[in-house]
């Protein structure tokens, strides 16, 4: 079985500083794969490279059987790779509805789009209640819901979520994590970057621990959750 996403020896640099130093991993159809690690480990850089916002120095990325090198970001979305960026990045002066519609920018099926907007409202009822409101007036957690809903609007084959629980209240964090579990149950393939390692590993089929640009440990979510060094470094246990 070939993987939906295959990353091979990927290197990414900002000027002379190598932020990602040759990582390899893959995501199978229907899996949740997580990258965990401290700030500056290269997780966000990896996602931004996959979605085409950054150009890799070397290495290859194969998505759905096609190489992604040299393809601009706006065309990668069309191939079925959606990215909900770190910090949410909703369009603050557009309404919630307009944000969701932008998520479906490349789609040409108005009925399908309408149906998916309904689905986003079902997933996050608060978005439906406030559909006309400017997105910048939402709370952090609500903005995160919108960012996820918007990413789903392209009907992606692979959904990349960058730090979806960052900066949220414990209740909001819980809600977001439950939603990810729900999406997983529905069969959505997810590449998840999370600082909440406990939660991420509990959800994940596969996990990779990144440190200063390299993957230092890989395994199933359960394996890593019980790994001594992971427990010490990322789960706050001595």
């Amino acid at each position: 079985m070939t993987a939906l996403l295959e990353v091979d020896n990927l290197k990414v640099a900002y000027g002379k500083i190598e932020a990602v130093k040759g990582i390899s991993f893959s995501v199978q159809q229907g899996q949740v794969v997580t990258l965990i690690g401290t700030n500056g480990a290269g997780k966000t850089t990896t996602l931004r490279t996959l979605s085409g916002l950054l150009k890799p120095l070397s290495g290859s990325i194969t998505f759905d059987g096609k190489p992604l090198s040299g393809i601009p970001a706006h065309k990668i979305v069309a191939m079925g790779l959606a990215h909900s960026p770190e910090g949410r990045h909703i369009f603050p002066r557009l309404s919630i509805l307009e944000n969701l519609q932008l998520g479906a920018f490349l789609r040409k099926d108005p009925e399908g789009i309408e149906k998916d907007i309904q689905r986003a409202y079902d997933l996050f009822p608060i978005l439906g209640e406030r559909r006309k409101q400017a997105a910048g007036t939402l709370s952090g957690g609500e903005q995160q819901m919108l960012a996820m809903g918007r990413a789903l609007m392209s009907r992606p084959k692979l959904l990349m979520l960058d730090e979806p629980s960052m900066g949220l209240s414990p209740i909001m964090m819980q809600k977001i994590l439950e939603t990810i579990a729900e999406l997983k149950a529905q069969g959505t393939t997810i590449l998840l970057v999370e600082q909440n390692a406990q939660a991420a590993l509990s959800l994940a089929d596969q996990g990779h621990v990144m440190e200063v640009g390299s993957i230092v440990l890989s395994g199933t979510g359960q394996d890593l959750l019980h790994d001594e060094s992971v427990r010490k470094a990322y789960l706050g246990e001595d």
């Binding site: 979605s51 085409g52 916002l53 601009p72 970001a73 706006h74 065309k75 979305v77 069309a78 959606a82 990215h83 960026p85 910090g87 990045h89 369009f91 603050p92 002066r93 557009l94 307009e98 519609q101 932008l102 998520g103 920018f105 490349l106 400017a134 910048g136 007036t137 939402l138 709370s139 952090g140 903005q143 918007r150 392209s154 900066g167």
Partner: protein
Amino acid sequence: MNTLPQQLANGLFLGSMYGLIAIGYTMVYGIVQLINFAHGEIFMTGGFGALTVYLALPHGISMWIALPLMLAGGALVSVLIGVGAERFAYRPLRGAPRLAPLITAIGLSLALQQAVFNWYPDAKSARVFPQLAFGPYHIGSITIQSGDIFVIVAAPLCMAALAFFVRLSRTGRAMQATAQDPDTAQLMGIDTNRIIVIAFAIGGLFAAVAGVAYGLRYGSVEYDMGFIAGLKAFTAAVLGGIGNIYGAMLGGLVLGLAEAMATAYISDVPGMHQLGGQGWSSVWAFVLLILVLLFRPQGLLGERVADRA
């Protein structure tokens, strides 16, 4: 005749013209955070483009036929220069320190002026611009030139078309998204390079309309007409809130009216009798800019959005 209605009419003309040019500054700034200081010259080349078309037409042709062709010709020249500047001068500098494109813009501005000065036939002095066959009209004590009527009709039409385009079209929505967050716009599948080109093209189009208005109103076009007009329009864009298209038009109107009023009436203020007249008009425009920057730096319609991180 410095009657109030006359000054209002003058202010309305000036303001509409500034507003049309200001759209180009504000759209480009809103999307790429670049002050395109060559935009005054894009306005100027629009005027010369229109003149060129007129000169190519058979002699004695009706202005009703000539004017649309002149507008099309001026627009073509302005749009090509605007889009060309983006493609070959600004795009290679994207991601460079912000001073680099700014200096490039100033250089481009000088280059365009000198190109017209040296290479356009007889452009070393003012070139006579054709006039509409009607007007001037006298209403009571006011004189309204045909050029006034042209811009006062054209500017609201252009603005309304732009507002509909930005609000209701798919491309307009993509422009708003790109202005608010270019990286994330790409993640939605928006080709932001295309959006930037469209912003420059719309700016060029509006500048050409303003260039034709200038020629009709003043009876000539000059190679350096874009310098002061460009600065004033930039002032109008800042005054209205740079990045906001409604602000650009409002800023233009406020600036034009303030300039006309100050020119006519400031000398009536005790102690300021020496400061009246045309020679001081630019001074009042820039005094207004300074006041706005001091007391409302985001501009009249500039928004302070609660962007929560």
